[in-house]
Amino acid sequence: MPIAEPTIEPAVDSNEDYLWTLNFGPQHPATHTTLRLVLKLDGERVVDAVPDIGFLHSGFEKEGEHLNYNQYVTITDRMNYISPVANNVAWHGAVEKLLGIQITPRCTYIRTIVAELARISDHLLATGAMGLDVGAFTFFLYAFYQREVIYDIFETLCGQRFHPSLTRVGGLAYDFTPLVIEKIRTFIKTFPQTLDDMERLLNRNRIFVDRTKGVGILSKERATNMSATGPIARASGVTRDLRKDEPYLAYADFDFNVCCATAGDCFARYYLRMAEMRESLRILEQAIENIPAGPVNIGLDERKTLPSKAQVYQTIEGTITHFEMVMTNRGFEVPSEETYGAIESPNGELGFYVAGDGSDVAYRARCRPPSYIHFALFPELIRGHTLSDVVAVLGSLNIIAAELDR
């Protein structure tokens, strides 16, 4: 049911004391992470919402100025921990842009595949948790079962389920093994079935549609003006997708569509994420059968990646390169320049503004966090709706507080 335009103006003076204030969070099951909202309510209508954030602020950007380009990848894992590999790919994409490294074709394909797996995993959580919050518990279980499968793939790949820290400057920490490829193939075969089930559960579900359609409408102009990107902007009709607009990694090789919706409400954001998962599957299908052979890391001559243990112990070049790389006063040369590299992360444009100063530690490692930018939209999306819509809007924006506060 579409809800009428919000007509209540935010309270400005004290004679509107019939309004009462509700503290939502920081510890609340529907915030999923730690964020606080101060809601001003008129009965059940939300008159105004004031977000209060910073509870999880742990100085990730300051850490970036003290850890070297390879070490910092472990911190990026902890930003958007729902799709950590996408952060790894974004971070080292930006660093490699600064260093001017051209990664190998095999590496671009593997990075593309893991980034798309991360997108599916992120969208499963975003839609699943949104379903859970508005009462669709079964849907959530379907989504989480498949997330486990993706976690298993990452565990097979690099021994870590939650924080893979997969990428390195100029390559990857681990190459694909036949077992990983087999697991991804199995996932590609079995996942469409679950996706169909999930869509059948919610797409025409009366309760879900009533609670999400017409709620939290964001117009196209407003989305761009508020710097929204990714699924949030595309659900409002902005046709921007960096995978198509600025093809990075191997995206130019694949046939896929950019999904868009025009309604801009919570249902459109849910529907768009479901559609994007199908497109990600198409990319995966094409990529997994066409992984180029060859090395996954760039050559030793460039002195940018750590050589493999076999190279270190069996060749003199490998030994020398290893020592050159790990000694504190050596490392690799970095230009005294600044650059911005971005990828289309599951949540929107995730970019890193990296300033190099010649050493192997970034002088400044700024992260452009999509969650932070999207959470700024929250007050205007919720005004005029009811208290129970807060969780629907929050779920549809997919706010990850670790990335929000960094």
Partner: protein, 167 residues
């Protein structure tokens, strides 16, 4: 990926006079003076189609080799129609760390500028609600400045603690 920005640079020159321009790995960067900033940004948004303010951030050049200025404010702009990107930089020096806010042009600047203020102490003139956003309100320092140590200066011990009976 690299888009042609020459027309944009021409328009900027016509508006603000000669501006330092540089290019690195396909990123075009321009440096404008802070009194010309609002004018230049309005031109970029209204006649060059840069409708997306991607990010606002800052770099503190305190320990940077051969740096002439203390702070470099960075605006990353993009156009959703042409996918053109442009980096606009403004250099600031103490004691005057005030610069006009981009809030009238892009509402998305709201939280981005608040974060820059919170972390670096850059004051955005014309911002509707310039408060700390990530750090607590009673925090006194600007943690991303280079003269602020990694492990803090002990502000944490001075935080006001509210007991259950006082709350």
């Amino acid at each position: 990926m690299t888009s042609d920005t020459s027309a944009t640079l021409e328009a900027l020159k016509a508006c603000c006079g000669e501006i330092p321009t540089s290019e690195f790995r396909g990123d075009t960067r321009v440096a404008v003076t802070k009194d010309k900033l609002l004018e230049a940004m309005r031109l970029l948004k209204e006649s060059r189609g840069f409708d997306l303010l991607v990010d606002v951030t800052c770099v503190d050049y305190l320990n940077y080799r051969d740096a002439e200025n203390r702070f470099g404010l960075v605006y990353l702009l993009a156009s959703t129609a042409t996918n053109e990107r442009l980096t606009v930089r403004v250099y600031l020096n103490e004691p005057d760390l005030t610069v006009s806010s981009m809030y009238p042009l892009w509402a998305g600047a709201d939280w981005l500028e608040r974060e820059t203020f919170d972390m670096f102490g850059i004051v955005f003139d014309g911002h509707p609600d310039l408060r700390r956003i990530l750090m607590p309100d009673e925090f006194t320092a600007f943690p991303l400045r280079k003269d602020y140590p990694l492990q803090g200066r002990g502000e944490r011990h001075n935080f006001q603690r509210i007991t259950r009976t006082e709350a």
